[in-house]
């Protein structure tokens, strides 16, 4: 016996605009926010492009203490969480704080700050026996990955289960999934769920350069992220955060909250195959989708939209296409499947949560966001990827799927008004 879990608030910091309204405007317009890197000098790198957030912490009312001391990815999360809680109408001061949880994901956490201070203490990479006297006093907060959930919990006085999830590029989906379990199984009545990453730094760009995972389309950054297109050649790094307020359904109804949709199911599996590689079959992702649909007792033909991982690497898009065909059967060909990474890039752990928010907005607007830059079909990717232009559609049951380094394969089901719920 589990409880129904409603989404009652959303917040997002994404490339191309801060806030859910600006984010949806970008997606619905099919515009891309990818560009040459400005956050540092990328000279010498193979991939010198990214989807960056034009983020002004002051304009978004960030606490001055956080503005001055917190890492960029923490600032993103704090702003997204503030928007989500405000949107939910939840008065956190009136709630039992021990019944409010936090579940936030991040793939690389404080590495940008860790790298910054590393340069200081090592004299620019010259010494192994680093000099601690050159480090900043707050460095331990970048070292500890749980700073993320801790800061957001403090922001709202949450005292229930607080956790940080780090399953590579499925961190965001899994953080939503863990929060779903937390509320459904009764460990909290409200849980802030989401993820944040700010990985646009020399070390993170260099490590993806080393395995040629990122796109070298430096001369045409606006069109560099090309999920499912025959000419795709890697993902474009992104950054950002998204937070959702998940709430026990009756708790939400009792306070008259607006319910965007419900979380209908969640599952994750490992592929036990390779830390970065994916098979052409997509067996494990298909299993995650199947389990998620089983939880909701939903027939696969009732899926109206699949929000793809769609990173734009050759193997991911092939893998994922195979997985969705395996799970949805012939219905896969009638189901729009798009990748917003074509527009906002791939923000590693954050993107899963950003994509769930995109799904919530798609259900709200009854519009499928497109895959920008999709022009040339690839015979191995033969589904309906919603090329370039958003598409109105009746959306009740929506799937969001993801794959992550480490072999993680995750799926989250959202059920909107008129959709099947348990």
């Amino acid at each position: 016996m589990t409880r129904r879990v409603a989404v009652t608030g959303i917040g997002v910091v994404a490339p191309g605009g801060t806030g859910a309204a600006a984010f949806w405007d970008l997606l619905a317009g099919g515009r891309t926010a990818t560009r040459g890197i400005t956050l540092f000098d990328p000279a010498g790198l193979r991939s010198r492009i990214a989807a960056e957030c034009d983020f002004d912490p002051l304009a978004h009312g960030l606490d001055p203490e956080l503005r001055d001391h917190a890492d960029r990815y923490i600032q993103f999360a704090a702003v997204a969480a503030e928007e989500a809680v405000s949107d939910s109408g939840l008065d956190t001061g009136q709630e039992d704080p021990w019944r409010i949880g936090v579940s936030l994901g991040s793939a690389v956490g404080g590495t940008t700050r860790l790298e910054h201070d590393y340069v200081l203490v090592s004299e620019g990479g010259q010494r192994w026996d680093v000099d601690h006297r050159a480090a900043e006093p707050q460095l331990h907060l970048a070292f500890s990955p749980s700073t993320l959930a801790s800061v957001v919990a403090e922001q709202f006085g949450a005292k229930g289960p607080v956790q940080t999830v780090s399953t590579g590029c499925t961190s965001g989906l899994d953080a939503v999934g863990y929060a779903f379990h937390t509320v459904a199984e009764g460990r909290a009545d409200v849980c802030m769920a989401g993820a944040s990453d700010s990985p646009i730094s020399p070390i993170t760009m260099a490590c993806f350069d080393a395995i040629k995972a990122t796109s070298p389309n430096n001369d045409d950054p606006e069109h560099a992220s090309r999920p499912f297109d025959a000419h795709r050649n890697g993902f474009v790094m992104g950054e950002g955060a998204a937070v959702l307020v998940l709430e026990e359904y009756e708790h939400a109804r009792a306070r008259g909250a607006h319910v965007y949709c419900e979380i209908g199911g969640y599952a994750t599996y490992g592929n036990a195959y390779h830390m970065t590689g994916l098979t052409g079959e997509g067996l494990e992702m298909a299993r995650a989708i199947d389990t998620t649909l089983d939880q909701a007792r939903l027939d696969p033909t009732l899926i109206d939209y699949v929000n793809a991982h769609g990173s734009g690497t050759r193997q991911n898009d092939r893998h994922e296409t195979a997985a969705v065909k395996r799970s949805l059967g012939a219905h896969a060909y009638d189901t729009p499947m798009s990748s917003i990474k074509s527009m906002v890039g791939h923000s590693l752990g954050a993107i899963g949560a950003i994509e769930v928010v995109a799904c919530v907005l798609a259900i709200t607007h009854q519009v499928v966001p497109p895959t920008a830059n999709y022009e040339t079909p690839d015979p191995e990717c033969d589904l309906d990827y919603v090329p370039r232009t958003a598409r109105p559609r009746k959306l009740r049951n929506v799937l969001s799927v993801g794959s992550g380094f480490g072999g993680f394969q995750s799926a989250v089901l959202l059920t909107g008004p008129g959709g099947r719920t348990r």
Binding site: V121, S122, G124, S150, A153, A158, V162, G407, F408
Partner: protein, 415 residues
């Protein structure tokens, strides 16, 4: 109230890679004898730093335990986790060959420091030589998910895989996470945490923790619950468990070493130790509640024992708040004072110790601790024989988490 059915998740395998031992039998022997192994840090490039004492894993030959293809692409923290996982799987009788149903075994780890030594080496290449010198494994060795991914690949485990990137208490959360996955139908989960935070830059990153002990004499550096408490001593290592569906374990004829009976977690803010009193007490009550366990049934408490006076006081009071009069009578121990505090690995080492204590009917002592200044029955100097059916393991994290886990002795849960 949690809807999780209690009593289903059995501990059937334990693997330990700790400063005092890299085998479970040796680990128990060292704990029982109360040996302290805290010592001067010998890792390369660390001897000039103002943190001199830690629990180092010295008797560990990664190359003898882990295949070359995994070794080159992983940090020391994953070496520990992979080695401990293999020991735990062997112990559970699941160590040989691919699983019949790969989806029936999942992997969950907690991680609080990531692959720091590997990361520092690659940062040095990047900044010292240039971006083209960064190797292909940096993207999979430094991040927190490395150990879960590699254990899954090495064993062929496709069940639910997860990573709690956390402060210390996340070690208990990971075990609860695994127990819940079992409750939802996964046959077994390889779960635990191991850390390797003693690389030079990782140590620099820890220096900002106000709770860190920088006392240079090993036997005086970590003395919780005393007037001489001066912070905690970090350590490396950890433990992995096999947590398995109890009925499946009995069907396989595998010994149920313990049952994960209850867990709860709360949050009271980083370094707000006074407030951790209520948070920890609530976590204890929640865990007892989930376990269907009365306070008087708790036979031993493995304390968090941070070693910060304010935090020690909060913990002693939390135990009293949650267990009532029984809180001042129940034996409490903190074997981690002899080996240090291995971040997320610490509560896993305590779980391993608790299972061993129940099996042997002895409460291991708290090394280096004498003359406590709190109203606790802390077991000191030597192990104390006792009938132990139920153990309570406590953990708090430097970022504000509090967690409690109730374990029942394996033999008592037979149906």
């Amino acid at each position: 109230m949690s809807t999780q059915r209690p009593g289903r998740a059995a501990v059937t395998g334990i693997g330990v890679i700790a400063p005092n031992a890299t085998r479970v039998d040796a680990y128990w022997k060292s704990l029982r004898e109360g040996l302290g192994v805290l010592d001067r840090i010998t890792r390369e490039g660390c001897d000039h730093l103002p943190l001199r004492v830690a629990g180092e894993v010295r008797d560990f030959d990664a190359a003898a335990l882990i295949e070359e293809r995994f070794l080159v692409q992983t940090d020391r923290f994953s070496h520990f986790a992979m080695a401990a996982a293999a020991l735990a799987l062997d112990d559970a009788g699941l160590g040989s060959g691919d699983p019949a149903d790969p989806y029936s075994i999942g992997v969950v780890t907690a991680a609080g420091s990531g692959g720091g030594e590997f990361g520092q080496r690659e940062l040095q290449k990047l900044w010292g030589q240039g971006s083209k010198f960064v190797g292909p494994y940096q993207s999979i060795a430094w991040f927190y998910a490395a150990s879960t991914g590699q254990i899954s690949i090495r064993g062929g485990f496709k069940g639910p895989c997860g990573v709690v990137a956390s402060d210390e208490a996340g070690g208990l959360d990971a075990v609860a996470h695994a127990a819940r996955a079992v409750g939802r139908g996964t046959g077994a989960v390889v779960v635990g945490a191991a850390e390797a935070p003693l690389a030079p830059y990782s140590m620099v990153c820890q220096l900002g923790y106000p709770d860190l002990s920088t006392v240079e004499e090993p036997d005086r550096a970590y003395r919780p619950f005393t007037r001489a408490a001066c912070g905690f001593v970090p350590a490396e290592g950890g433990a992995m468990l096999v947590v398995e569906d109890e009925a499946q374990a009995r069907d396989r004829g595998t010994a149920v070493r313990a049952v994960v009976a209850g867990h709860a977690a709360t949050f009271t803010g980083a370094s707000r130790w006074e407030q951790s009193r209520e948070g920890l007490a609530r976590a204890i009550r929640g865990a007892l509640d989930e376990a269907g366990c009365a306070p008087e049934e708790i036979d031993v408490v493995f304390a968090d024992a941070l070693g910060v006076p304010e935090a020690d006081r909060a913990e002693a009071l939390a135990i009293a708040d949650a267990l009532g009069a029984h809180g001042t009578r129940v034996p409490v121990t903190a074997p981690k004072t002899g080996i240090g505090r291995a971040y997320c690995g610490a509560p896993l080492l305590d779980i391993a110790a608790a299972v061993l204590a129940m099996e042997h009917g002895q409460v291991p002592p708290t090394p280096n601790v004498f003359d406590i200044c709190h109203d606790l029955d802390l077991v000191m100097s030597r192990a104390r024989p006792a009938e132990l059916r139920t153990a309570l393991v406590l953990s708090r994290g430097l970022m504000g988490s509090n967690a409690a886990l109730v374990l029942r002795r394996g033999g008592d849960c037979a149906r």
